[in-house]
């Protein structure tokens, strides 16, 4: 067909030194519109996207078989810079793909590399910024932008090359809902201009409503997903709805396990959190929500004892406090996954075998592997197992589902329930409404360093009633909180 922009035929590829291929016998045609690529971590999504602009195999090396054509060029042989003109790629991490410090120059970087005349560069930068509606950011420093804005800048930097095919590798995984929506809106604008957008994502519900097509990758094999699945994702059909109460104060009951009393916290002399009063009980999961930069991480670090409060007091339960930072895979350094889990158990003074925790996260088969050789999802599970081992009494999780596939999310939910079932208290900072619905007993919204919103939220819970609690969903107002009443 004339509108076919890319064609892959029987493509099989293995990274250098890999035991097996990352993608297997892929047959695929890409046409204008938004193609959503689904699949677990390690299923080959990133590899597939890198095929379109030649990064696989040319940048990474390895072995490849089959044939491919992208906009009339062979991505296995044509130099990557030449392919970049027609096929762009936006990566997951907004931090590690920036070259310059300012928006305008970042967008122009690819055009400079191609040696375009200055006047043409200015026109194209104008065009790309306008296409994404970010002209007002032109002179801003990247460091001052939100995650969503930065990801839009990266998309503009690719669109400035006027590619007809744009691949995006989990572009919303690190963004709050507003940032993710902004990026998806940009994708729609790109497809509206007749481009093909191929987008790999875990959060299918967010993207499905705007997708024209859904591909499923399993163990490197790609197939067209059942049309009914895309329709059901678009329709939002899912688990039963559950209402999670949103309030910052505890209701009547036993003494709290942890408390923040009128706490100010921050860096230098600048408080990020102001006058925070919160508490939680044994067995309770409190979810912290709010936009990027609102102070959720600061609150967790303060509660963990990693950041001294400027004012106020903090109480934690006796016993170990587990803290999972953002990008937990960064902490892994031992030769095996089992050694990572064993280290935490030994340090906490426990003597339970590590296999229980490894099994909880589906890692028994990977227990003797080097953690950094694992796929990103597997690595994240390994970090979770290493963090949550040792029977903690307080569990603090910072964006734990970032970039996580369904299996890892399910394992996380199970582990949190297991720990809280044994009496631990948990605090989870997250943008993931699905996770909130799955594990939270109470939601606290943080914005601008304060608890700002006291209305009930609605979420879904795959396993309704697993905690044995029944919430009325009745919210309380800020005035109620100020008055010390509860819902």
């Amino acid at each position: 067909m004339t509108d076919r922009l890319a064609t892959l035929r029987h493509v099989t590829y293995a990274y250098p030194g890999a035991d097996g291929p990352a993608i297997v016998d892929v047959d695929l045609d890409v046409r204008p519109g938004l193609t959503l690529v689904a699949g677990d971590s390690g299923s080959g999504k990133s590899t597939l996207l890198r095929l379109f602009n030649g990064l696989v195999p040319q940048f990474h090396g390895g072995r490849i078989a089959g044939s491919a054509e992208v906009l009339g060029l062979d991505p296995m042989r044509v130099p990557i810079p030449r392919l970049a003109v027609g096929a762009g790629l936006v990566f997951q991490d907004v931090e590690t793909q920036s070259v310059y410090g300012t928006v305008e120059r970042e967008v122009a970087f690819g055009l400079e590399n191609l040696g375009r005349p200055r006047a043409e560069m200015h026109d194209r930068v104008d065009e790309a910024l306008a296409e994404l509606g970010i002209e007002s950011l032109r002179r801003r420093r990247l460091a001052t932008l939100s995650g969503g804005e930065r990801q839009k800048v990266q998309l503009a930097a690719v669109l400035a090359l006027r590619p007809r095919l744009v691949a995006l590798d989990e572009p919303t995984s690190q963004l709050d809902p507003a940032g993710a929506a902004a990026v998806l809106e940009s994708c729609l604008r790109a497809t509206g201009a007749g481009r093909a957008v191929v987008l790999a994502e875990h959060r299918l519900e967010a993207v499905a409503p705007v997708a024209d097509r859904l591909l499923q990758l399993d163990d490197g094999r790609v197939r067209e997903a059942d049309p009914g699945r895309l329709a059901s994702l678009r329709g939002g059909a899912g688990p039963k709805q559950r209402r999670v109460p949103s309030r910052s104060v505890l209701g009547p009951g036993p003494d709290p396990s942890w408390e923040l009393n009128d706490v100010d916290a921050g860096f230098g002399r600048r408080p990020v959190l102001e006058a925070i009063t919160l508490a939680g009980r044994r067995g309770e999961v409190v979810a912290l929500t709010g936009p990027n930069g609102s102070g959720k991480t600061t609150l967790l670090r303060t509660l963990a004892g990693l950041l001294a409060p400027m004012a106020g007091s903090i109480r934690r339960p006796d016993g170990r406090t587990a803290y999972l930072p953002q990008d937990p895979g960064a902490l892994l350094h031992l030769p095996t996954v089992r050694a990572e889990v064993s280290l935490t158990i030994a340090r906490s003074g426990g003597n339970e075998p590590p296999d229980a925790m490894l099994a909880a996260f589906g890692l028994l088969g990977l227990a003797d592997r080097y953690p950094r050789d694992l796929s990103s999802g597997e690595r994240q599970r390994a970090a979770l197992a290493a963090t949550l081992a040792g029977s903690p009494q307080l569990v603090l999780l910072d964006e734990p589902t970032r970039g996580m596939d369904g299996a890892a999310r399910a394992a996380l939910v199970g582990a949190v329930r297991e720990l809280t079932g044994r009496g631990a208290a948990a605090v989870v900072a997250t943008h993931d409404e699905g996770l909130v619905a799955a594990v939270a007993d109470r939601v606290v919204r943080i914005e601008g360093g304060r608890v700002v919103e006291m209305v009930a939220e609605v979420g879904r819970r795959p396993d309704e009633g697993a905690t044995g609690q029944d919430f009325t969903g009745e919210g309380i107002t800020a005035a109620d909180v100020a008055a010390g009443s509860t819902a």
């Binding site: 602009n53 990064l55 940048f59 130099p79 990557i80 810079p81 030449r82 970049a84 003109v85 762009g88 790629l89 990566f91 991490d93 931090e95 590690t96 793909q97 070259v99 310059y100 410090g101 300012t102 928006v103 305008e104 120059r105 122009a108 970087f109 690819g110 055009l111 400079e112 590399n113 191609l114 040696g115 005349p117 560069m121 200015h122 930068v125 007002s136 032109r138 002179r139 801003r140 420093r141 001052t144 690719v158 090359l161 963990a304 990693l306 406090t321 587990a322 803290y323 999972l324 930072p325 990008d327 960064a330 902490l331 350094h333 280290l343 935490t344 340090r347 950094r372 290493a386 963090t387």
Partner: protein
């Protein structure tokens, strides 16, 4: 046209000076600061550079870390000279001769010479500070000759990873601490430094991949910014070159002799033509022209 970051993080091309003008000014200021040991000229260069930096410093950036670093460096230079020189007629205190390095007389002269060494260090650092605190990395890349441009881009891009490196270090240290790690001997830091180093390597590979995906290394590059200098750029560069000319010419004519406080403390000589030359370096401080963002 070059770009300089303004108050709210926006870039202000119209009011900024070209990177080549800044480079010329910095080289001139460093040359004068290090060309002699006279503390009067060094002091004037330091004050001029400080004023220029204060005028052009983008809002949101602070001079405080630089001030602390300079105070430490200058203090170190003074202390070393004070304790190790043992030369001069005016003795402040005398340490036992048996003490290694510091044993002997501690003199006013060695304190004064240490201070002029520290002042030279401060002046030189303040002279080059605008290159990192006022200019953006792409401004520097634009100012480099073509042969160095790609190297400059690679350095500029890697500098973007530095902030991420710091964040990774903090995150890993915190996470390991919560797993029971406590800092002890050098080997104990393996638990933090090894994962941080591995993550930095992974990030570098990702950055290289992202750059290649945007055609880095395709061939002859062009530049988004014009390399031409405007009237104000020429004025800054010209005045800086004139300052160097006056200073070097004056030295050839016997003015601005070096100053040594040994064996007995004397006042440094002051030659007005050289003072005027040094003051020319303050010109950029009066050329800052804020423009509205956007």
């Amino acid at each position: 046209m070059t770009s300089t970051v303004a108050v709210d993080g926006s870039v202000r091309p119209g009011g900024a000076l070209a990177a080549r003008a800044w480079l010329t000014w910095s080289l001139a200021a460093v040359a004068i600061a290090l060309a002699g040991t006279n503390p009067i000229y060094r002091g004037i260069v330091a004050l001029a550079a400080l004023n220029v930096l204060a005028a052009w410093l983008p809002r949101g950036r602070s001079l405080r870390p630089l001030a602390w670093a300079l105070a430490f460096a200058a203090g170190f230079a003074i202390a070393i000279n004070l304790l190790a020189s043992h030369t001069g007629e005016h003795v402040l205190v005398r340490f036992p001769d048996g003490l290694p390095l510091v044993g002997g007389p501690i003199t006013v002269e060695s304190l004064a010479y240490g201070a002029t060494l520290g002042l030279g260090l401060v002046a030189a650092v303040l002279a080059v500070a605008p290159l990192s605190m006022v200019l953006e990395s792409h401004d520097i890349v634009d100012a480099l000759p073509g042969a160095l441009e790609r190297t400059g881009i690679a350095v500029a891009a890697s500098m973007n990873l530095v902030s991420g490196f710091g964040r990774t270090f903090s995150a890993v240290r915190d996470a390991q601490r919560m797993r029971g790690w406590r800092p002890g001997g050098i080997r104990s830091w393996n638990e933090v430094l090894v994962p941080v180093a591995l993550t930095a390597i992974e990030d570098s590979v990702l950055l290289a991949e992202a750059m290649e995906a945007r055609a880095f290394g395709a061939g002859r590059r062009s530049s988004f910014a014009s390399g031409s200098l405007g009237r104000r750029d020429w004025l800054v560069a010209g005045s800086a070159l004139l300052a160097v000319g006056v200073f070097v010419g004056g030295r050839f004519l016997g003015l601005g002799a070096d100053w040594y406080p040994y064996p007995s403390l004397v006042m440094p000589a002051v030659d007005l033509p050289l003072v005027a030359g040094c003051l020319l370096l303050a010109l950029p401080a009066f050329m800052h022209r804020p423009e509205p963002a956007g």
